[in-house]
């Protein structure tokens, strides 16, 4: 174990340790940063480690009390996986604690190349990658497989399996398989995962090395019998983390030969069969039968397309959406693509459907091949019903009879927005104006509620109604009186007196006409009117009474009218 000298500062000590300082490329080492004296520190700042892949393995903290003295520590653990061989220095790790920076001593680590890759050497675990062919044509299916051989328990797999995306298209071949295999008399458990690769351009393609992280468990047996004298308890298990790398592989990709290349060749590569079947060979004009073309085989069968068969306008043809079934057997993608066309004969007679052909390149034979269906003959009888067929182009009713077939050719963004009316700047402010917007309906409600209440009271409260309407009614009457022609008559004074009394009666909710001048003063004072105003009202009413019984008119009745109006205003102000 490599141990660096601890850095001391007051009661805080930090140290960096590794579990071993000589490893191979297959191993990883554990770097532990222990901080004693505190547990409240930010994570350690590791130095730059370009030759290692660093992953955190967690932290552990401990608290000990010895002789009533409490000591605490925290350990940050990291797993360092070497990427290259050689001698490397793990620089100082910096730890910030209590406002100070502590550094550990650097550690030197030696990484050696892996031990012999040859599987003939007795190894407990090793990996292997294979590609089915070292030379292949563009579009030909290759199988790239990764195998892990182990004869000890292995867990926690983390596989990185790059395949060279610039040279190949990949298709998964399902889950990993597990089986047993014997090599040089030693039995291994094998985990195998395979993918199908389809080369996309000619040239030398390299498949980079695959890397597998895993933990293996060695059983160790101690000599002495353990607890209960049972061999089971004498066993121990030692875990070891391993990083296994495969060798990179190279594949030579060949372009498809130009010689014998069929016209309009659609880059179908593999080995295929084709079959054609007709639902019924004996039918009437207007009946429907289904022509089924089945293409099966191994290779890029997904790319096979079939145009609508040209049947010289003897049939209406309705194509259906092709069905595609893929199976993976023995690490090979095989499949079946079924094309269906509904045929409706337009004329009676014996008709022969011509043979349909499919051109493909056979990489085994290194040449182009053609498969074809057999011609199919069918008898079409005249229609037993006199229904005439509507001769329309089949494409125009495709949508009603067949499922729409949409082939995604490319993807792109949808266009920009050009409606200028929608380009109004949006200001999002939740402030005073928003508050006013919310409060103002409430204020309007308060005002409306006040008026509604007033209105209701006017209809239910007689005293209130009389009080509210008194001034307006009296003013109106006085105005009418002022316009009358007999302003010097006794009736004028009598009416004036009556208006005043009615006003006061309305205000005080009493019978106004029968009230005397003295009572008026008394009642007004009782109702908290000013004594002066009450006294003036009494005087005015007395004056009116006196004039009513005087034999000769005084000639100043209009002055009395003005005086009455002033008194009304004074009394109204109080109310």
């Amino acid at each position: 174990m490599g141990l660096s000298s601890p850095a001391f500062a007051e009661d805080i000590q930090v140290m960096a340790t590794v579990d071993r300082n000589q490893i191979t490329l297959e191993d990883s080492l554990q770097l532990s940063i222990t901080i004693q004296g505190t547990q409240n520190t930010p994570p350690p700042e590791l130095p730059s480690l370009p030759d290692f892949r660093v992953t955190s393995s967690g932290t552990s903290s401990s608290t000990q009390i010895i002789n009533f003295k409490r000591s605490v520590s925290i350990t940050h653990k990291y797993r360092l996986t070497p990427m290259n061989s050689g001698q490397f220095k793990i620089g100082s790790v910096r730890i910030r604690a209590n406002g100070k920076v502590y550094s550990t001593q650097p550690i030197t680590v030696v990484v050696q190349k892996s031990t012999a890759q040859n599987k003939s050497v007795d190894k407990s675990v090793f990996v292997e990658t294979n590609v089915s062919k070292k030379t292949a044509y563009v579009g030909e299916q290759l199988i790239y497989s990764f195998k892990l051989f182990h004869r000890v328990e292995a867990k926690n797999f983390d596989l990185s399996m790059p395949f060279g995306a610039s040279h190949f298209q990949k298709e998964d071949l399902g889950k990993a398989k597990s089986y047993q295999s014997v090599i040089n008399g030693i039995q291994y458990q094998v985990q195998e995962i395979a993918v199908a690769l389809f080369p996309i351009k000619p040239g030398n393609a390299e498949i980079p090395s695959a890397m597998l992280d895993l933990d293996i468990y060695h059983r160790t047996r101690s000599n002495r019998r353990g607890f209960f004298n049972d061999p089971f308890f004498g066993q121990g298990i030692r875990a070891e983390h391993k990083v296994l790398r495969s060798k990179p592989l190279s594949v030579e990709i060949l372009a498809l030969p130009e010689k014998n290349k069929p016209l309009g060749f659609k880059k179908i590569i593999g080995q295929f069969n084709i079959q054609a079947n007709l639902g019924k060979n004996d039918l009437e004009v207007g009946d429907t039968t289904t022509l089924t073309i089945t293409v099966s085989g191994k290779g890029n069968i997904r790319g096979v397309t079939f145009p609508e068969p040209d049947l010289n306008n003897q049939f209406k043809v309705y194509p259906d959406q092709p069905e595609f079934k893929q199976t993976v057997a023995a690490n090979q993608i095989t499949g079946q693509k079924i094309f269906k066309f509904a045929l409706v004969p337009l004329q009676a007679g014996t008709v022969t459907l011509p043979a349909l052909t499919l051109d493909y390149f056979d990489p085994e034979a290194k040449d182009y091949r053609q498969v074809k269906t057999r011609p199919i003959t069918l008898s079409v009888h005249p229609s037993s019903t006199e229904e005439t067929l509507n001769h329309v182009q089949s494409n125009s009713i495709n949508n009603t009879l067949t499922k729409p077939e949409i082939e995604i050719l490319a993807e792109d963004i949808l266009p920009i927005h050009t409606q200028l009316n929608d380009f109004q700047s949006v200001d999002i402010k939740v402030g005073t104006s928003t508050l006013i917007g919310f409060v103002s309906p409430a204020l309007l409600f308060v005002i409306a509620a006040f008026f509604i209440r007033q209105q209701k009271r006017l209809t239910t409260d007689v005293a209130f109604y009389r009080n509210q309407k008194a001034y307006k009614a009296a003013s109106q009457k006085l105005e009418n009186l002022g316009r009358s022609q007999n302003s010097e008559s006794k009736e004028f004074v009598s009416e004036l007196s009556e208006i005043l009394r009615e006003y006061i009666g309305d205000k005080l909710n009493m019978q106004g006409k029968a009230i005397t001048a003295a009572e008026v003063e008394h009642k007004l004072k009782e109702s908290d009117y000013q004594a002066n105003a009450a006294s003036n009202t009494r005087k005015l009413l007395e004056k009116c009474e006196a004039l009513q019984y005087t034999p000769v008119s005084s000639g100043n009745n209009l002055e009395l009218l003005n005086e009455s109006q002033d008194i009304l205003k004074i009394l109204e102000k109080k109310s």
Binding site: E45, P47, I413, S425, I428, G437, F438, L444
Partner: protein
Amino acid sequence: MNKKVLISLFILLCHIPLVHAEDFMSEIARANDLYASNNYQQAAESYESLRQRGFNNGYMYYNLGNTYIRLGKTGPAILNYIRAQKLIPRDENLQANLNFAIQQTRDKITLPPLNTLATLFFWVNDLSLNENINFAFAVNLAFWLTLTAWFYFRTDFLRLARNSIFFLLLLAFVAIEVKLHLESNSKTGVVLAKTVAVKSGLDASNITLFELHEGALVNITDERQGWVEVQLDSTQKGWIPRDSLGA
């Protein structure tokens, strides 16, 4: 101040924003034309100048996002789509283009799923903050009008309407609060740098926990000393320089 002066002042106050609006409109039209004639760089500059002048519009951000897609800058494109989403959350073209842009990124990180609060107030995310406020305005007005009507007529129907709208009003106020809370607490950032190393602390010398690439969507959980803490899920979080991220 006589009536004429008041009227002139009113016209002037109304006129100032209109002049600005016309400026913005002509600039928008120019940027759209530049985009249509495939001058994407100039179109982007034009939209960016509008943004810097305080013009805030969902469709402008959407168009800017499209322009960056055309320029091959996935990070700024996603950033502007995210900005647009706050203002026009129900726009289907925006959602389609945002998904397209995310598919162009290396990390292909989609928007984080809704949290419990956002799930409970499911409609809040489909409305912009302004729409939430306008909805509350309308419900508030309806409530006081119904209350006034009930005060006058006092029928059972109006009482039921008053109580229902009052409940709706409370819900609308809570929705605004939830929207404000979601927008201030769950801040989404977009990686703008080609590759950025996510560190365990606020310093480049810290351990690299993982790497993110242009266009990766992250949750910003903290910001200190020119570094931001980003989180992908409960286990993947770390610090990246502020200038490598747009928010």
